[in-house]
Symmetry: C3
Subunit: 347 residues, 3 copies
């Protein structure tokens, strides 16, 4: 039940973070705390006098501050940029999920699969024939790496990821739990009596440095490849239909949906619960607000909102008036009354 | 292939449900049927003469009725409140998913984890170092209980639940299949060339008596804790981003999304496919209709609808006029015509 | 690491596809390529002279063309309907996910379950007591087939599917990875202090020839059955609440949500991110556009859009005017000004 306690003395941290220590160097911290919170084994940071006062009022063990702070009731680590140094400390605090080296004895790896000796395969993972898992990859428990899939160097699958077939994951890319990559696209043809299935035989290509959240679905192409460019970030519960192409460094927030064969440009950002229709093309650099939905293509960069999506400023202007519609209706009725009166006089 | 048939004679049920039996006591029922349906081995209830007639026309085995029903072609169980007694019978009908006592021999439990001798761990479950599973917990097949996670007494994980790291599940709380708790929040900083990952090192705290549906994602905090209060109920396919806080007894229907660092009050109810933006604050007692979406905070209780969400009555009033907009436009054109005519005369 | 290379010579394909071969018959192709793309081991099709030119410019190995094409720099397969023949070739290209015959030695099958000798059960699958798996079913890795579930002949569960209890899957139906069928419906009664759980003891009945995408949730009925009719197709990330009934051949695109006890007719089509509220009834043949949301029933067939959903033509007409609202407002103000002037003169 006991695990080794991981942590650092402030003395150690002063050296690791290139900070000046003020106060007791033997204080031992094990994790980071948000500003104004924290227990005696936590380290936080204060970017202002107000935040420092909040930290001093809390039980936190020590505080990262700027050089102008001279003293405090808490031990201090003084640095030129406290926020940045706190970020460095966060990086120190990352604990990768446990995973033994090599292939866990319970995993089922087809002898016709290649697994690098420096890769790690967790308990109950299944790796099918023709799969290729390169150096330093981490494949966690319950993952299914299907036939002909390829994980490039340093790729990571968290527990419970499924790669159907012919899915290529780029270097250092990360797929979170529950995401399903390469399932059949949603394609049918009505044959007069029933929806006949269009064969789905393509694959999925995911570039390097991509991160895909939990419970996201990326369907295989009907023919060819569904493509996700380098550096793309997808949040949780996102839908990427068959034959979609997503340009480099594009970011899609949670519950976003991309229709079949849509093409999303580079450096696009789509807010939560947004979406685009089948066969749409979204230009490089487009930003869609949360909930924005576009049934048609968006050919020019800019910020878009609402449904059907339109330029944000237009959306706001309309919303202002929509909220006044009952009043507008009254003004119109009043005009009609006054005009009728005037017309009567005129006769 | 045969399983023991579970069920009760009407005589047994009369005693268990404190009902008065009218008719044959040896009729054997195994399950509940909705009103007007059912096979001879089912029990239903009738709250009215009409429902009793429907039950008598069906093949159902027996009917729970109120004391004023004197006789019927079906055996009866007479009680003061038929609906309430039917509810009690439904409780009798619950069959927990099968799970042997103790740790299934196929499970992989780290020796540095604590599993209570009264807890049950299903086939192929993985329990990592430093995890703590208290008395009477039920962890079903394929669950991943990560490092430093804690399940309080009587907590239940259905098959295929993932808890990443530092996830705390309160007493009697239930997590349904496919839900992922504690995956990384969606945090990046554009460094001029790419989206650099903000380390996600916080955890998730879930209070007692919480129920979380299938395929729901609850992300860990960046630093600190994502918090779900006591008695909260989340439906399927819900998104709870990093650092969200949800107050006690709040209820979120399916496909709802909460943006990062949003704070949802107590006794809030959000309808299906609703959502709120990042860093919003939603007051205690707010009700959001299905599809309501609020990019900004909702500081006062009330019922809200539409996007951007506004008071329900305002939404309805606007919708009425929006539907008349083509007519309004015509009236406006007509006014312009008439006014122009009048102005001409005036000259 | 090497897998047997699957493929066909053009000579073989000419026979299989009943085509006339023009050019070298020993060219070996292994897969299909979209028009204008492809490597020397791929076959594509060209429906027009333009597409043929694109194919000739690509590295593709061979092209299916119509009889009027006389020659080309590529080997050709001449047929009366190139698109249809390409479809036949796609069917040849389907590679079912690998699955050994019989029960994988790592699977946990309760002795009281029935598994047909012609069914396949993958690694780490769990089959509970009273489950019935008929001939030719394919149950992939990590599936959980709960107590009393039944898979009819030829049904297929991709890796990571969960069937809770009393779930019936019809003949030839396909469930994709990560879908959860039969979890508890979202039913609570506020008892003055907390949301008390309404027991959820019903099941799910899924007809024949149904296909359900990835990460879709279909909840069990409170009492009775949640019902999905023959030939229904559900995309990824769809929510089907407790006691829903879906008529035959209805198609729901990704991220659609159906509220509890809603009844969806036959041959209904709902676009991505659409939804209907609890207890609604949607008529046979209704089409809802992407994003359409209906809190109330839709009693007549037709095409509906927007929220709250209304006939598509009405929606379009209103959208046109909504976009002109700022202009409308100006026109109204102008009218008020002119009318006031006229009234002044009148005095």
């Amino acid at each position: 039940m006991e695990t080794e306690v991981r942590g650092w003395t402030l003395e150690e941290l002063a050296e690791l973070l290139e900070a000046e220590l003020v106060g007791r160097g033997d204080v031992f911290v094990t994790h980071a705390a948000p500003a104004g919170h924290g227990t005696p084994d936590a380290l936080t940071f204060a970017g202002s006098a107000k935040h420092l006062a909040a930290a001093e009022d809390s039980a936190v063990g020590a505080v990262i501050v700027s050089p102008d702070v001279e003293s405090s009731s808490k031990p201090l680590l003084r640095v030129s940029d406290p926020r940045r140094t706190f970020g460095k400390f966060l990086n120190l605090c990352i604990r990768p999920l446990p995973l033994q080296h090599g292939v866990h004895p319970s995993a089922v790896v087809d002898p016709r699969a290649h697994v690098s000796p420096t890769a790690s395969i967790g308990p109950f993972a299944v790796v099918e024939r023709g799969a290729f898992i390169d150096d330093d990859c981490r494949v966690h428990a319950f993952c299914y790496v299907g036939e002909g899939c390829r994980l490039d160097r340093g790729a990571m699958l968290y527990p419970h990821v499924v790669l159907y077939q012919d899915v290529h994951i780029g270097e250092r890319s990360i797929i979170h739990s529950g995401s399903i990559i390469g399932a059949d696209g949603f394609g049918y043809i009505w044959d007069g009596e029933r929806h006949a299935k269009v064969p789905q035989i393509g694959g999925v290509t995911i570039g390097p440095d991509v991160e895909i959240g939990s419970l996201t679905a990326v369907d295989r192409a009907t023919v060819g490849m569904t493509k996700i460019g380098a550096g793309v970030k997808l949040d949780n519960l996102v839908q990427v239909a068959h034959n979609v192409e997503i340009g480099e460094h594009t970011v899609l927030a949670s519950q976003t949906g991309l229709g079949g064969s849509s093409t999303i440009g580079r450096n696009v950002a789509m807010g939560g619960q947004s979406g685009v229709g089948d066969h749409t093309v979204v230009a490089d650099g487009v930003m869609m607000a949360g909930r924005a939905g576009s049934p048609s293509s968006i050919p020019a960069p800019g910020v878009y909102a609402g449904f059907p999506a339109q330029p944000l400023m237009d959306f706001h202007r309309q919303q202002v008036i929509i909220r006044k519609l009952p009043e507008l209706n009254k003004r119109l009725r009043e005009l009609e009354r006054r005009l009728a009166e005037l017309e009567k006089k005129e006769l």
